[in-house]
């Protein structure tokens, strides 16, 4: 059984075809990278998968369930989580609250209205675990806006991890990071349990080749090719679009 099955997805903005007949499968436990030049449709694809953008054609199956028309918050309950290319956090709330909000996202306690949020000790322990993972436990009481960009980038990822998702979509997790920060992030993604399948988009090919079991190349809304990192590295078509787009 495929964890995610995508069948003939299509999306256009006006006359521009952003996604065109995109089909692929993700198997449980895989680490899959999504690469392609700017404007290839990577972010749109992630938005369609998470329900932030409605596709015009095609279907999406998560764990054999058709989720094509399901609102995004219900997909999260099925085990889907995502991060954003641009930091999308709760800037004026403190770090601990940010993480607690992420943890309770799939719990019914998110509707509790009388007990203080900090009284749910199970979630507090989990928050401590996540914040220690990125070395930010000491800063838990500062507002997220006060953190540095690189630290916010890490928070972006632990928020997505908080619900222990079955499928994690990371939209350019290393965007804007220094080499060292990017390595740290790579280690973090590598250490994510195999219970979680990861699909991530990235421009940093070193990160892609070191992390991914499989690479999909998106080019003008179509899947140009896919294969293991070695296959993609040696594929002349891929070299062409990358050299072409970067010069």
């Amino acid at each position: 059984m495929a964890l995610l099955k995508v069948d003939g997805l299509g999306k256009r903005y006006g006359g521009l075809e952003v996604l065109c007949d995109v089909s692929f499968r993700l198997e449980s436990g895989e680490r899959v990278a999504l690469i392609g030049p700017n404007g290839a449709g990577k972010t749109t694809l992630l938005n369609v998968l998470t329900g932030f953008t409605a596709p015009e054609s095609g279907r999406i199956f998560l764990l054999d369930q058709d989720v094509t028309k399901m609102p995004s918050h219900r997909r999260v309950a099925l085990g889907l989580a995502r991060s954003f290319q641009l930091n999308t956090l709760f800037p004026r709330l403190n770090l601990l609250i940010n993480v607690l909000l992420a943890i309770q996202g799939i719990q019914t306690i998110r509707y509790h209205w009388f007990r203080p949020i900090r009284a749910y000790t199970g979630n507090l322990d989990r928050a401590q675990e996540l914040l220690q993972l990125v070395g930010l436990w000491k800063q838990r009481n500062s507002p997220v806006a006060a953190l540095g960009y690189g630290q916010q980038r890490l928070v972006e990822i632990i928020l997505a991890l908080a619900s222990r998702p079955k499928l994690l979509l990371l939209d350019e997790p290393s965007a804007g990071l220094t080499g060292e920060e990017s390595d740290h992030l790579g280690d973090m993604v590598r250490n994510i349990t195999k219970e979680t399948t990861v699909l991530f988009s990235a421009h940093d090919l070193d990160l892609v080749y070191s992390l991914a079991d499989r690479v999909m190349v998106l080019y003008y809304g179509k899947i140009l090719t896919q294969g293991t990192p070695e296959e993609i590295q040696n594929d002349p078509k891929v070299g062409e679009i990358y050299v072409g787009s970067e010069e």
Binding site: F52, H73, T88, G105, Y111, W113, P116
Partner: protein, 318 residues
Amino acid sequence: MRLIPFIVIVLFLLILPSFAGLALVSLATKILIYGLLVMSLDLLVGYTGLWAFGHAAFFGIGAYTTAILMVRFDVTSYWITAPASLLLVLFAASLFGLIALRVSKVYFLLITLAMGQLVYGIARTSLGKLGAITGGSDGIGGVPYPDFGFYFSPNSYYYFTLAVVILCVFVMYRIVHSPLGYSLQGSRESEIRLRALGYNTWLYRYLAFLIAALFAGVAGLLYIYFNGYISPDAIGVEATGFLWLMIIIGGSGTLWGAFIGSTVVLALQYFASTVIPERWPLIFGGCFVIAVIIFREGIFPKLRSFWSKVINYGVVKG
């Protein structure tokens, strides 16, 4: 240490009637009622990030329902009129919320403003049967204190109001620090992120709208018994504008700021209008400008940081 100012204020409020005259006790009652109303609006504006501009309408529906039931239909039992008023407030809010929450930001402001004016318009109609019930622009008066088996005096009604307001503040305080309350703040900070975490953000905003309306309805009930009289002027867009000013002066997203705002504005109005009634708007406008310049985030955040400095100083010294 942090609770000291709070305890001092509550003690002060408890002994106030023993030395203050009727006028001041009545002013204090009004300040408490408006503080509660402003706090309910702050749940939307400051916590949830919903710019509601028709909020006084829910206050009005609460007050008017009780007044109409008591004066026009001779329903004297508090146990019928109060629940009926609050139910009607919730009913109106559940309808208005459905329509207004299809949009956000300034569009939400405009739609809630229109809805507020709709309620104002209905209350102000002086023609036909409706006019006979609402009293039109004259409003409706002659509402006695609630009958709990004993007679209220202005002093005992002040204590009653104080008790209800403290209870409401306690409940509101628990709400904003609960999982639900922080989720509302999350929807203010980033609706997209909250949705990506599995929250039905629409439902949260709707709940906030209903809760805020309910508290506004309670304030409306307290007001009609206190004032005995309600007119369309107390519930229209101008009234909501005043609530916004109180939030801005006191500090949004803080709960206590609501009470500071209502104290400053109503006390200023009271003293200015006893000295030079015709110049009151001028004095008020000037004070508003000064408050915004000096206390940019509102008075409460300034006081809070001042007090934490005092505490820290004490800790360092001690």
